[in-house]
Symmetry: C2
Subunit: 333 residues, 2 copies
DNA sequence: CTGAAAGCGCTTACAG
DNA sequence: CTGAAAGCGCTTACAG
């Protein structure tokens, strides 16, 4: 293991372990001359305090857990990048826990706790009450990322899905469209429900009939479902909660001989990389997923700091809404 | 923190700490009756050993580091899913370290070591000699994932890119094509170089002229570059190291009024989700990225086990090639 | 401002 | 098969 230990630094600098430790953790408590001397040696020897020892002794690990049901959703990677960039800035390191609700309850949550992270970024939407109980017992701050905590007890960082869907729908209505299809996921996600709510609100305000379809995440299934819909009637506008669904829908329609955006306009709700690879390019609500990750981590840092000072922070709850914007491309006119 | 400690279990079971620890770590050394009794209590109380304490005392953390330059590449998420599924099976937990070569050298690698992981999955292609030195000093096993260690000292888990590109190119030649364009990245990745090598080999064997273009990862730049190429001449076949590039190329060609696959056939080298969202759907070499992650983690587990037994395993090196296969879709005929 | 000492929660030889 | 004890590498009151 021949790693440099704190002893080595103390020895080389002619000070005690305690002083080296202080230089790292409470530099203001150390006389400047010794501080610089110690820091110099730390740098020379490339000393990095053992994370386990530090975690054990201090009960803080400068480590944060990311808990998510799946990592392969299109948006997750970029969110993690946002989280990581922020984590680096604040000196935190990331642990990854991937598992759905059931796994969380069985085993995974124990791992999260056992690893004594300082905070948790939680992306599992739609918790069962059991999971919620688990969360409640957690001794460290939790922030929801692009997922809503239905319990209004934790802060979520996300876009205001309902307002956003409302705005888009309204905009398309104002442009003279009446037959607007809303495409959502079969699997229930709160964020998608919020979007649907926004869509419904706008449609109702104009006394327009709702037209909603739920399909899976699988492109093959999408195409089958969408074909059925189209065979009945091609809507004027399709809004899809996922870019991949928007594009699938568009492709199906085009193959049937219709024109986009002339016969049908399509809008996606994410602005993933897919959006510019489709033909025509997909108009999107841009969900600034990188920013969401970035801000969630920054906010969690706040909470962790407070958590260190007084116990029990985080009872108040206020969601943090990250601004979204429209990116008009070729699939609308 | 009111977490259950090993003391609590020992107390409740009427045994010593040592015995509880043994039940968890060397169950065969404990009499069955006490073992079951202790296990029952562990389960009841939901005891999970503190990972820091365990890591510190045992010098093994059942934790693995994933080191990668960026997480937003299309293939990474699925690879991580593969890694995670395997990690779960073997009882490991994941830490994420995202950073390019320079960051590794400056700081990040120190974090990796300090966190005392039991093994490292390394995805940074194209290391500088400095990074390589860092790797050499690492006390734990390292496995390269979908990236080649140019030094033939570490095992890589990946597909045989050269052979694969050779096979595809040859197949397209055999089908009567002569003008085959190879599209690669501007940024140098060893895996892409290997593909290029395979392409070149096949072309040379048939005395066909090489036609290679390097472009960026940005779709906008791609389109500009590709337009230039096409304005000179549309090739019969385009092979692209990334699906996104293949699709961009295809879109540019289609917009110019050509037909795919009639005038141009296009093949991608990844089979990401993009492939089925394009229109026409993209023919691909399927890089089984999930399997690569999965097997890499499984192999790392082997190495870590050995590393525990005799010191210094891992001098021999043999890459593990995961089989690839062609998925013929609509962009070829 | 600095050092000696206790302790974080485990694991693992070492005895028995 | 089991327990007492040392130790993993740090941090942090507590003295001084």
């Amino acid at each position: 293991m021949n790693q440099v230990k704190i002893y080595d630094i103390a020895g080389a600098a002619g000070v005690s372990l305690a002083t080296v430790s202080r230089v790292l953790n409470h530099p203001e408590k150390v006389k400047e001359s010794t501080r610089t001397r110690v820091l110099k040696i730390i740098k020379e020897k490339g000393y990095k305090p053992n994370a386990n020892a530090r975690g054990l002794a201090s009960r803080r690990s400068t480590t944060v857990a990311i808990v998510m049901p799946r990592i392969t959703r299109a948006s997750v990677a970029e969110m993690i990048q946002g989280i990581d960039d922020s984590a680096k800035k604040f000196g935190y390191t990331l642990r990854l826990f991937i598992g759905a609700d059931t796994e969380l309850q069985r085993d995974l949550w124990g791992d999260v706790i056992a690893s004594s992270v300082d905070g948790i970024l939680f992306m599992n939407d739609e918790m069962t009450p059991e999971t919620f109980k688990l969360l409640q017992k957690t001794p460290v701050p939790v922030v929801f990322v692009n997922a809503i905590s239905q319990t209004a007890q934790y802060t979520s960082v996300l876009i205001d899905d309902e307002k956003c869907a409302y705005d888009v729908t309204k905009e398309m209505i104002n442009r003279g469209n009446k037959d607007i299809l809303f495409i959502s996921t079969e699997h229930k996600y709160t964020v998608n429900d919020m979007k649907q709510k926004g869509y419904e609100k706008a449609m109702r305000e104009h006394s327009l009939p709702l037209n909603i379809i739920y399909s899976s995440g699988d492109v093959g299934v999408n195409e089958k479902d969408f074909t059925e819909v189209i065979d009945k009637k091609v809507p004027e506008v399709a809004l899809a909660v996922r870019d991949s669904m928007a594009i699938s829908f568009m492709n199906v329609v085009i193959k049937k001989g219709y024109k986009v955006p002339e016969d049908l306009q399509v809008i996606g709700f994410q602005n993933t990389r897919y959006a510019v690879l489709s033909n025509p390019k997909l108009t999107c609500v841009e969900t600034p997923i990188y920013d969401i990750g970035n801000q969630a981590m920054a906010y969690l840092t706040e909470l962790m700091k407070r958590n260190g000072e007084h116990q029990k922070a985080q009872k108040e709850h206020a969601n943090i809404y990250v601004p979204y914007r429209m990116i008009w491309r070729e699939s609308t006119r």
